[in-house]
């Protein structure tokens, strides 16, 4: 073989090997976490291993639409995951355990199913006993009907209720334990011995609910609600969020296509502006519903995402659809 022919062949083979080998090698060395709408597979991989106390560096990319990434029960700002771009994020977990990461953007109909887990290994330095949620310790059946048999004629006013509070032995009702374990309707009936009119009693209940929260908690609850609940329950709480109609139209079949999904029963998102339903629900009961989710309905479980404090803030905000709080 003549020299020019040999050199040409070597150049061609080298070029081809380079064109195949270099991108393959670099691709293999760049593990990405791919985000896709839940209908198309969700997170891949959806289980990530980490070690407590050591930095976990993640490279996230979206294969379709804009997604968000956050880890539940962790103090972090969510980051956007842009189609075709790579988002770098570094996390450090103090304690071992199983953490849930989730999408924070309303990416699609089954957005709320877009979750994965980070399994953090390591020996726990200071084991903490798991606390029992209030709804469990109260032995509440959170699926039982809980309608309020009496409802106010108009939205109860916390401001009016505050003026009445001086006339009442209200302090016994103001403890967090009492507030969390009683529905507004139960408090309303507990006030039956007083000389207040029906409307005044509801105002007093509104005041009690307001006095068990703070403007900061309400603001935090509002933000959590807007980010995580409004897509289905709507910004105004009426249960007609942007996904509500689409979910209803897609029907149960859309919820059964997911891998490992149990049989689902379509249910419209709850209307938080409905006084009969909401005034009959105690904060503990709502805690149970949020923590556990709707079991077989479209309502996801949030226990792995929200901290206990966040859930109480969210509940306080949800009651603001029933009560007129002080601005």
């Amino acid at each position: 073989m003549k020299r020019p022919e040999l050199i040409s062949r070597i150049l061609i083979v080298t070029g081809i090997l380079l064109a195949i080998g270099a991108p393959l090698l670099l691709w293999a060395r760049t593990p990405l976490i791919h985000a896709r709408m839940a209908e198309n597979g969700g997170w891949n991989p959806d289980v990530i291993q980490a070690e407590a106390g050591k930095s976990l560096h993640l490279k996230l990319t979206s294969d379709d639409v804009v997604h968000g990434f956050a880890v539940g029960q962790m103090d972090m700002q969510s980051v956007d995951v842009i189609p075709g771009k790579v988002t770098d994020i570094t996390l450090t977990f103090d304690k071992p355990g199983i953490y849930t990461f989730f999408c924070t953007r309303w990416c699609g109909l089954n957005h709320w199913r877009m979750r994965g887990t980070i399994e953090v290994s390591g020996s726990p330095l200071d084991p903490e006993p798991a606390s029992v949620p209030l709804y469990v310790s109260l032995d509440l059946d959170i699926d039982a009907p809980h309608d309020s048999s009496i409802i106010p004629n108009q939205k109860p006013s916390a401001v009016s209720g505050q003026q009445l509070a001086t006339q009442l032995p209200i302090t016994s009702y103001q403890s967090p334990d009492y507030y969390r374990s009683h529905s507004p309707y139960q408090v309303f009936t507990d006030l039956s011995d007083t000389s207040l009119t029906e409307s005044q009693k509801w105002d007093a209940v509104a005041y009690l609910w307001q006095s068990n929260t703070t403007p900061e908690s309400l603001a935090n609850g509002k933000e959590l609600y807007a980010q995580n609940c409004a897509a289905c329950h709507s910004e105004n709480g009426a249960g007609d969020g942007v996904f509500a109609d689409d979910l209803a139209e897609a029907g149960e079949a859309s919820m059964q296509t997911m891998e490992g999904a149990m049989d689902m029963v379509m249910q419209s998102p709850v209307d938080f502006t409905d006084p009969r339903r909401m005034l009959g629900a105690s904060p503990a009961l709502l805690q149970g519903k949020i923590l556990r989710g709707g079991m077989g309905t479209g309502m996801p479980m949030w226990g792995v995402i929200f901290t206990e404090e966040q859930i109480w803030d969210l509940i306080a905000y949800i009651y603001s659809f029933q009560f007129e709080y002080e601005k």
Partner: protein, 439 residues
């Protein structure tokens, strides 16, 4: 004007190394595009395969290479190279007298461009998916490479380029309008030339890969500008010439496959303008959701427009004038008039999406696989449509030029004594529709 009189150009064309260097770069780029499509981000606008094939390459091809260099792209196309090297058993060495593989002649029934027409239409029907989905692009690019290799092993010369390549078909059609040609200088020299090394090869080079005898060539259509004949001609009788635009289209088409190629390209440009640039979401969905009922309707309408509506209306138009020529003959020769307008349709259509999406090139250059690289510091370049103010005037100008170019072509190819007004009216209506679709 004979360009090969320029000493620098002539030596560059006669020497194999400059072409080989370009070939290697193109082949590496092509293989990288396949790989990018298969392993890179599935987001088309950030994947090298989509951005560099369907935006950068397409822009160069349809806005520069075809109008100004004819089959200039075929001269550097990497698709046939691995097959051709395998077929020859060499990259540069003189050809063996004994063929290395089957070396069959392509059956006569396939020695036309019907297969190219069919292959183009197959891709055209899937184009919404092909143009946006990197792994589909990767698979199609790989399939073309392997098809070319397979055909080179079975058949002689570049059977893929000549009879199957969906791109080569329309490049050949429109290369007739280009101001570049490869031709012989003196016919008598070819007549008396022994052995016809330009076609059969010699110790200094290979026979024509495109199965064309340069001595008989009157059009650009099937000359792939591989430049082998310049190297093999012992009489220095081959020249590359600069000529007026559209010189070949003055000679009317006499083949039905070529006539239909003109209609396919003409119609496809209009349909693409409606589907890809138009505001009709239902149409886009139908084109994108391959295999659904809506897509089958879309495909049926697409094919009906190309094979029935456009040729049918054209036939009706030319039937309005009396002629001594047979209708089929008139249909074929007058369809030549659609070639310049068809090219301008593609130019106008391509301007729109190329200028809109060209800014993706910078980002894809720095991060071709979507792995988070920033090789040239342009990975985060924002998407921004370019030259938006001149887009509509440029498209309008292209269409108007195309219309008058076609009218002039119709006059040239028309039988003496018959009117070309029906062809002009046909072209005018089509241009008006295209203008409406684009603007």
């Amino acid at each position: 004007m004979e360009l090969t009189r320029l000493p620098f150009l002539k030596s560059a064309l006669k020497n194999r190394y400059p072409q080989l260097a370009v070939f290697i770069v193109m082949l590496v780029g092509y293989i990288f595009a396949i790989l990018a499509g298969l392993i890179g981000t599935p987001v088309g606008s950030h994947n090298f395969s989509i951005v560099f094939v369907w935006i950068a390459w397409w822009a160069i091809l349809i806005l520069v290479a075809v109008p100004f260099f004819g089959r200039g792209w075929c001269a550097v196309c990497p698709i046939p190279l691995p097959g051709e090297w395998l077929q020859r058993g060499a990259v540069l060495s003189p050809p063996d007298k004994r063929p290395k593989w089957l070396n069959l002649r392509v059956p006569k029934m396939f020695r036309n461009i019907w297969l190219q027409n069919i292959f183009f239409l197959m891709l055209a029907l899937f184009s919404s998916v092909l143009l946006t989905t990197p792994n589909v692009t990767g698979i199609v690019l790989a399939a073309m490479l392997f098809a070319a290799i397979g055909l080179s092993i079975i058949f002689e010369r570049r059977a893929f380029c000549r009879y199957l390549c969906p791109v080569g078909g329309f490049i050949g059609l429109y290369s007739q309008t280009a101001p570049i040609e490869l031709r012989i200088k003196d016919k008598q020299v070819c007549v008396t030339c022994e052995g016809k090394p330009c076609y059969n090869g010699s110790q200094v080079g290979y026979g024509c890969s495109w199965d064309v005898f340069p001595g008989g060539m009157t059009k650009n259509t099937y000359c792939g500008l591989c430049m082998e004949c310049i190297r093999t001609c012992p009489h220095d009788n081959i020249a590359v010439n600069l000529r007026p635009f559209s010189a070949d289209v003055a000679k009317p088409t006499a083949r039905l496959d070529e006539a239909f190629k003109a209609f396919i390209m003409f119609g496809a440009a209009m349909i693409y303008a409606g589907v890809l640039l138009g505001p009709w979401g239902t149409l886009k969905d139908a084109a994108y959701n391959v295999g659904t009922g809506a897509w089958f309707i879309y495909a049926a309408v697409f094919l009906a427009i190309i094979f029935i509506v456009l040729p049918g209306l054209f036939t009706l138009a030319i039937m309005t004038t009396k002629s001594k020529q047979a209708l089929k003959q008139r249909f074929m020769s007058l369809s030549t008039a659609l070639i310049p307008l068809g090219l301008m349709f593609w130019v106008a259509f391509s301007l729109s999406f190329v200028l809109t999406n060209a800014s993706y090139i910078l980002a894809a250059l720095s991060d071709p696989l979507g792995l988070g690289w920033n090789l040239f510091g342009t990975a985060n370049a924002a998407w921004r449509p370019m030259l938006t103010t001149i887009l509509a005037p440029a498209q309008t100008l292209a269409l108007v030029v195309g219309l008058f170019w076609s009218a002039r072509t119709a006059q040239k190819v028309n039988e003496a004594g018959t009117s070309t007004i029906p062809v002009f009216v046909y072209c005018f209506v089509a241009t008006s529709i295209m203008l409406w679709l684009l603007l």
